[in-house]
């Protein structure tokens, strides 16, 4: 009988077309992922080359004054793009993958954005995660919405009942064949992706695959539940489509609205104002408080003094810059707190909304989520501090540019790391699938389909 069901499934043109559409959409998404990765690589190479050139040029034009050189010279820190991000671009097209900063105040520099067509950002990337989250369920729904009702409406249901002892097994087989077809396409796409995008087979890739499979299972479980009510094909299709609209459009967008209202972030703007005032106001003040602030922050520079008879020194200048960052620090911290609250809220709500959970976990596994961005921002702070720590003493002791070795300043790179949170990833899926299956089971038992009407 299973053989029959197989032939029946693949003989239907609609089924083959459905699988083919998924395959084609998936392949297109891989191409998009590959272009995204190429662009990120190009940006990284270009930045590295530009940094080397600019160091060379600045040094050759230099008067020897290190402070002046360090006013201009920027150093880049790349937020390494894992190959897996080609499958789930997430926020990566909104946050630049490299930021170059000089040793002046950081706040003014670190939020600069890449050049992107906002219309394209609005329409969104058709990356693999999009195909998975939006297209796969549609095909699953199309395959399963009339699992029982097509037999009823086609008049073959009584034949089924008369020829099998267990109509449940018959339905399970029917659904399993559809599940196998969809999973085969999914596995095929992931296998192609591994080669095409050169993705390493690490735990993140396996997590990615498991999430994708779990998401497909969720939709099959949902179809199984809706079918268990044994309504008409039309009604099933409408219910399932409504589920798709709610899970993929309305609920996520609704959560986004709530998130914005619950945690507004005016601090982002306040920080910009405080940063600018914090630095520039120092020009018109007595120098001592500015310097005192600097010494209390960095006692190691206590040995350097501002020459009393001069209007300007680099020590004073960078002490002023430091106040730009420090005045904004409170707002920046609050902004970060709000961003974390937004993330936390979304991840809590996502327990109830598998589509959102899938997107967030895929982004997290491919390091293209806001968590990664916040980690990178932290790394950029450390990077900036390290550069200051290296250059400040040299600037303050007035070391000549020409006495220094300028070779060791290549583009640096930050690699985000966190272990795969298997429980956090799987638990919501297991929970929702379990609820759906149990509920469906109850419906089937009530309908007496188990006992074949006997």
């Amino acid at each position: 009988m299973i053989k029959y069901l197989f032939t029946d499934f693949y003989r239907s043109k609609a089924h083959s077309i459905g699988l083919l559409l998924l395959l084609v959409a998936g392949l297109v998404s891989l191409e998009i992922g590959s272009r995204f990765l190429e662009r990120a690589e190009r940006v990284s190479e270009k930045t590295a080359a530009h940094q080397a050139e600019s160091i060379q040029r600045n040094v050759s034009h230099s008067t020897g004054e290190l402070g002046l050189l360090m006013y201009y010279q920027r150093f880049g820190l790349e937020n390494e793009v894992p190959r897996l991000a080609g499958l789930s671009i997430g926020q990566r097209d909104i946050y630049p993958s490299v930021q170059s900063v000089n040793v002046r105040n950081l706040e003014e520099q670190r939020y600069s954005t890449d050049l992107m067509n906002p219309l394209f950002q609005l329409l969104g990337n058709m990356d693999f995660s999009f195909v998975l989250i939006y297209f796969f369920p549609l095909v699953i729904v199309a395959f399963g919405f009339n699992l029982v009702s097509e037999e009823r409406e086609g008049g073959t249901w009584s034949l089924v009942l008369s020829q099998t002892d267990s109509p449940m097994d018959f339905l399970r087989c029917k659904l399993a064949i559809r599940l196998l077809g969809v999973l085969a396409v999914l596995v095929l796409l992931l296998a192609v992706a591994v080669f095409y995008l050169d993705i390493p087979l690490d735990s993140f890739f396996w997590a990615f695959g498991v999430i994708a499979v779990a998401y497909v299972l969720f939709w099959f479980a949902l179809v199984w539940l809706v079918v268990s009510f044994q309504l008409s094909s039309n009604l099933n299709a409408q219910i399932l489509l409504a589920c798709w609209v709610f899970l993929n459009l309305i609920i996520p967008a609704g959560i986004n609205v709530v998130q914005r209202w619950a945690f507004p972030i005016p601090e982002a703007m306040t920080a910009v104002i405080e940063n600018r005032e914090g630095y520039h106001a120092q020009w018109d003040r007595e120098k001592e408080p500015t310097l005192e602030h600097f010494y209390s922050k960095y006692p190691q520079y206590g040995e350097f003094q501002h020459p009393k008879d001069q209007d300007f020194s680099w020590l004073w200048y960078f002490a002023m810059q430091q106040l730009g960052d420090d005045e904004a620090r409170k707002s920046v911290k609050e902004m970060r707190g709000k961003l974390e609250q937004r993330m936390e809220m979304a991840s809590k709500v996502s327990w109830l909304v598998p589509t959102v959970h899938t997107q967030l976990s895929l982004n997290s596994a491919s390091f293209s989520d806001m968590g990664n961005y916040l980690q990178y921002m932290g790394a950029l702070e450390d990077f900036h501090e390290a550069k200051k720590g290296y250059f400040f003493p040299l600037i303050f002791e007035e070391k000549s540019v020409f006495e220094m070795d300028w070779d060791g300043f290549a583009l640096e790179s930050f690699r985000d790391q966190h272990p795969v949170q298997w429980i956090g990833i799987l638990a919501p899926f297991i929970l929702s699938v379990l609820v759906l299956l149990l509920w469906a089971n109850r419906n089937y038992t009530k309908s007496g389909i188990y006992s074949n009407g006997k």
């Binding site: 630049p96 992107m116 329409l123 058709m126 520039h280 997107q359």
Partner: protein, 483 residues
């Protein structure tokens, strides 16, 4: 009994049928609540944004005017912060708003990016789309129209009532238009009240010097949406007339909906990106930088461009050193540098913007196949949340930045002595009334004429879809299969 037009009778019948379907009343209620609710949410959001932005803008201005006496070049570096205001109609359709930067730091020598878009502050959720009245009207209402309309003719055929209708002398065209009219009427029950109330919101804007323009844009917008719904009603009834069964009609319509709202927009985005790739920031910046260095590096004392400038000045004023010039020489050099670098930046920026426009052109072409894209573009444009409005803000802030830098340079050239050694010298300070005399930044929105002419293309597409739908219904009205 008066004889009434069969179209009206048929339309009334459709409306009654829809109203008495289970769940229809609830759906109508929910849709009305959603639309009105999200317009109010958008409206409050907009007012909050405007309130904040005005507050920040006033702070910035106050700080600028109260800056103590200092060297003008320090003021040029202190610079200005400008915050993006939203158009009064942006509550209707958020469009690209969430992807647009909200603040730009303007300073001498350097064009900074617009930062802190809502997308910068969001986790992946924004990517599922945003709910605004525009989104509901563009995506959800069409789905309902298709659900209400898919069996308007197939059901009669399946029940055998189609035969009776024709036997009673109903013409094919009357049948189609009657059904379309009924379905369109039903769609009005979803959107009519919200559209009227939405218009009312415009009168509650705290500052409404743009009321006239907004009202006209709103009316055009509402008409465009009504046209969109009429197109969708035509599509559903025609598909229903052409389909063998209600089931295949529903499948076809859902297919159209997915094609219109999901597939074509994504595919055109992909095509646009591959036909017209745009440079990354680093590529753009290095190209600008290289060209500026080629033209002349004002920081390099041996640069030929600036050496020539110096020689010609010395000759013209017949002096032997720049200190003897009757104006501030370093201010003069900076003014020249600012002019050259801005010119170069703008020429690259223009090229970049052309690439963006080419990319958008691909989307506009795709809109010929997709009324959803057409209404989306029109709706964004008319709500003032599109790229054109954003570019106008960026252009205004760039010219303000240039003015600011050159005003400060001119103050330095005219008022600062040539013998001053450093900007800290007390004699190099200008009094703060100079700062006050520089005007504040006032963002201007694109005027009505420009907005309308930007969107004439997408409105035309909608009009043509409408004409094509009507033509097709005339053409097809003789071919309706009765059984």
């Amino acid at each position: 009994m008066k004889t009434r037009s069969p179209i009206l009778l048929l339309a009334a019948q459709v409306w009654k049928n829809i109203l008495f379907r289970p769940g229809s009343k609830a759906l109508i209620l929910v849709m009305n609540v959603l639309l009105i609710g999200f317009m109010i949410v958008g409206f409050l959001d907009l007012n909050e944004h405007q309130r904040q932005v005005h507050g920040f803008g006033e702070d910035v201005r106050e700080n600028w005017e109260n800056s103590p006496d200092k060297h003008p070049h320090r003021m040029a570096h202190y610079g200005y912060l400008v915050f993006r205001e939203k158009f009064p109609l942006s509550y209707f359709d958020f469009g690209m708003d969430s992807y647009l930067g909200n603040v730009i730091f303007l300073e001498a020598h350097k064009q900074n990016t617009a930062n802190f878009s809502e997308a910068n502050l969001s986790n992946g959720l924004l990517r599922f789309g945003e709910i605004s009245a525009g989104m509901i009207l563009q995506i959800l209402v069409p789905l309902l129209i298709f659900f209400w309309g898919y069996d308007l003719i197939t059901k009669d055929r399946e029940n055998g009532t189609l035969k009776i209708l024709f036997a009673q002398g109903v013409q094919g065209l009357e049948l189609i238009w009657g059904r379309v009219a009924g379905l369109f009427l039903a769609s009005l029950s979803l959107v009519g009240l919200p559209l009227v109330l939405g218009l009312g919101l415009l009168f509650f804007q705290p500052e409404n010097e743009l009321l006239g323009q907004s009202l006209i844009q709103y009316l055009v917008l509402a008409l465009a949406y009504l046209g969109y719904f009429l197109i969708l009603a035509l599509v559903s009834v025609l598909v229903s007339a052409k389909s063998q069964s209600s089931k295949s009609s529903l499948t076809t319509l859902i297919g159209f909906w997915l094609l219109f709202t999901l597939v074509i927009p994504k595919v055109s985005q992909v095509l646009g990106q591959s036909f017209f790739p745009n440079p990354s920031k680093i590529e753009f910046d290095s190209a600008v930088e290289e060209e500026i260095i080629r033209q002349g590096d004002s920081h390099n004392p041996n640069d030929p461009h600036y050496a020539a400038l110096k020689d010609s000045l010395l000759r013209a004023y017949q002096v032997d050193s720049v200190q003897k010039l009757p104006f501030n020489y370093s201010g003069f050099v900076m003014r020249e540098g600012e002019r050259l670098s801005t010119e170069t930046y703008l020429s690259h920026q223009k090229k970049l913007q052309e690439t963006f426009l080419d990319q958008q052109q691909v989307i506009r072409m795709a809109a010929w196949l997709d009324p959803f894209l057409a209404i989306k573009l029109a709706s964004m444009g008319l709500s003032g949340t599109d790229d054109a409005m954003y570019q106008s803000f960026k252009d205004q802030s760039e010219s303000f930045r240039y003015e600011l830098a050159q005003t400060m340079n001119n103050l330095q050239i005219d008022l600062i002595s040539n013998r001053v050694k450093s900007s800290s010298d007390p004699s190099a300070r200008l009094t703060q009334d100079h700062w006050k005399s520089m005007p504040d930044f006032h963002q201007q929105f694109l005027p009505l004429g420009e907005v309308l002419s930007n969107e004439i293309g997408s409105l035309l597409i909608l009009a043509l879809w409408l004409v094509a739908g009507v033509a097709l219904s005339v053409f097809y009205s003789h071919r309706i299969k009765v059984v």
